[in-house]
Amino acid sequence: MSNKFWISEKALDIQEVVDLVTRREAGAINTFIGTVREFTKGKRTLLLEYQAYVPMAEKKLAQIGEEIKEKWPDADTAIAHRIGRLDITDIAVVIAVSTPHRADSYDASRYAIERIKEIVPIWKKEHWENGEEWIGDQKEQKAYPKGQPDEEDLT
């Protein structure tokens, strides 16, 4: 199971992730590909640097896979996330979910990316033309208004 959820220092191969969930029972494979965006609210990004607490991040990706299995028992999930220096348009994350019917594959894929942004210990540092900063606003909202995430978000 855990070999379907990993952190990589090398460029991600979309097909490799898709192949892990390809099976005869599937009628749909939904892939989500997260890429490095150049402009955020008018600010130009030159490159991104991702860091992870690798062993825990891989466990948490696997946990997301288990959560998906509970919610959509027929779903099969694989997730790879890249770390290190990424240039604009590079692939940061690939999620593949296969299900017998298409609706569940969309829902589970969306669930996976939202959970990544909540519980997986990965950070990105934006390098702009005039500076750099570790980004910490989960789900692009204000981070941890209560000083820490809600407990139910973590389990």
Partner: protein, 77 residues
Amino acid sequence: MNKILLFAGLQEKAGKAELQLEAVNKSIAEVKGMLKDSYQLDEIDTSMAAVNEEYANGDFVVKEGDTIAFIPPVSGG
């Protein structure tokens, strides 16, 4: 003795990714306080903690050999 891991902004502020600290029988909240004082890590207040790669609350009591990671708000994806 305990291994402490720091990431992202915390790591840069402290100038190190890893340190050793005697934290046995202290709570995570107390460990946060110690690090905040020693390294001026104000951001640790808004960070989560993980003990042995699993999230832990502030009242979790540290045991010998536990690895404690401080996890600033995450931004993967």
